[in-house]
Amino acid sequence: MSETQAAKTPKKPIPHGVPDPKQFMHPVLLRNIGNWKYHDRPRPGVLHHVAKSGDEVWTVRAGTQRQMDVWTIRKLCDIADQYGDSYMRFTIRSNVEMTVADPNKVEPLIKALEENGFPVGGTGNSMSMVAHTQGWLHCDIPGTDASGVVKSLMDALYDEFKNEELPNRLHLSTSCCEINCGGQADIAVIVQHTKPPKINHDLVANVCERPAVVARCPVAAIRPALVNGKPSLEVDEKKCVCCGACFPPCPPMQINDPVHTKLAVWVGGKNSNARGRPTFMKMVAAGLPNNPPRWPEVTEVVLKIVRAYKEDGRPWERVADWIDRIGWPRFFERTGLTFTKYLIDDYKHARQSLNASTHVRF
């Protein structure tokens, strides 16, 4: 098959651009675009939307593994064909949403999803699926895996996905290098390297554009050098902050290490404008071992934070709002995490995060 196929002339691409979603949209959504009145949640995992026209739809949200084999996707299609209205969409956090126009379809649809292993939940003040990245499965620079960390976290926090028992919604992300494709979140797990890159000097001249690599370093720790008579690069290890930025443009600057690549946990990122302005997350724990297949140390730290938030948070407080109220001393006390000198910013604009007041909590 492949020989004859490969021999044919390739077709010129048709630049369709972004497909029009109208062709794939539930008909009730289609006829009420821009015309919705309100929604409520009859139970966790179900959204009930009412249009100004009086039309109503029920949407069942369920978790997926994001990295899906065609059989899993076909299973979702079978469920949507048999119990739903043959339409679905996916959320930014890889949850599947099946919308139906008949309320009597909701319970059987929930049952079918759950029987096939797709937990129903992730709505309102619950924890949604972890936004995550590629990891060892497919990226060329990862310090850890993505899907495995996420699976472990979601197993541990399964009930928080299925129930709406948190102060507000809880968004998590994981990232397998400091580039952080997973993005800002209420709680994020991100690789944090702890040693400067180990340079394979034999390869640098051939593989790396040296000035570009020098320019990539945030702390100007890299300079061109001759090593064993060959043009290479050298790193001022006192300056290096082990960020790994030099690794993608120059793979011989090996930053990943089975022992010294660790994980850090960050909290308090929020993209919504609700209440305060959007916030960036802050590092609260580091040095956690990169421990496949289930990363128990990471899960434990995340669980501590989730539990404290669940107990202390008031209704509608996101993690950032909660910490704003209770303050950092109590955050560390409540979570049992240790505040160390490494958590005090000393990079550019560090002063912005220092306390220039006598506002002190005891």
Binding site: Q5, Y38, M88, G183
Partner: protein
Amino acid sequence: MAKPMHPTPLLDELEKGPWPSFVTGLKRLAKDKDLVVDLLGQLETSYETRLGYWKGGTVSVFGYGAGVIPRFTELKDENGNPKFPDAAEFHTLRVMPPAGMHYSTEILRKLCDIWERWGSGLIALHGQSGDIMFQGCTTENVQNAWEEINALGFDLGGAGAAVRTSMSCVGAARCEQSCYNEAEAHRAVINSVLSYIHRPSLPYKFKFKFSGCPNDCMNSVQRSDFAVIGIWRDNIQTDEELARRWVEKNGGKEGAIANVSDWVVNRCPTKAIQLKRANQVRQGDSISSVRLTDEWALEIDNRDCVRCMHCINVMTGALAPGKDRGAAILIGGKRTLKIGDLMGTLIIPFMKLDTDEDRQKLVEFAHKVIEFFEENALEHERIGEMIDRIGLPTFLEAMGIDPDPNMVIHPRTNPFVRTDGWDEEVARLKAKKEVKTA
């Protein structure tokens, strides 16, 4: 039937527990695909050694310069041969999803069939930039898979120094908070910059994201160079029937008032919303109000409201965005490398996006921004970093946008600026204002 599986004791651990397992899915694919048998072999090795084994390269489809992420194995034996030869090539096709990520089962089945035919059968719904990621294809099969995907009406996404795949929220299709038609705006903008997607030629990546309201479900403020976020200019709308129903559900006549006070009034960032005796509610052009009970009402002074969405989120339907809707544009958001995180900052406080003509203005502005970025950014510099380097005033002048106090949290706190153009600038802005109000 594929070849026998390699033992995967570590990955097997990820089949335990209640959450859906990607390992179980991969094993299912491995029943018919040698490619996946060997992928599992390599992944298990990564779990043992705690190292990754992919490297990039160059693979593309005919006619495009981006959209395929090449992956070649680096896990070789002492003779330089791949340890898992059937997974030696494992490329990804990034494909742009329909705006809002809506699918019929029919189209999903067709996409699955194509990927089962030419690839590994592993599909991510979706990547963090929003792509449908068809993962695991040999160099030879990339073109075949692509032609069939393309024939279904789908197009490749961006990679490298290109405009990237974009995302828009469900918005107008199913969300009452939506302030513009996200899918239409998303398609109007992205489909006008396809050459920047398919042929990377920018100093660095450039991302658009479209959220229908300030809840910003697409996380556009932190993750896109050009964030289009829905907002309204007039007064918050109210609905007494839904307000009274909310009271019934949330503590009844007695309890609900305390809840409104704790959950809504106390959390309003500007204290624009007040709980009042129903007979003391003010009237006026900027006032919205709604009765909760016979005795109590909420009053909002919309001049003080920053459109944060909080009260509307709590009492959805009872409170709603106004009628004069559109979008704000924030530019320069990005994640950490290399100067640290940047949020997008407000460049256009409001523009209408109701009609094709309105959307055309957005498209023109997007082009102006990209062209300026293309000409002025340094290599590997995102637009947020570029604006930091040249200063926002310079960027605004280049865009022909007048300064607006909404663009800052407060005016400058240092004197290091040359102000000898002050009088002319004041005169220019005043003259413009008079023309507007005349």
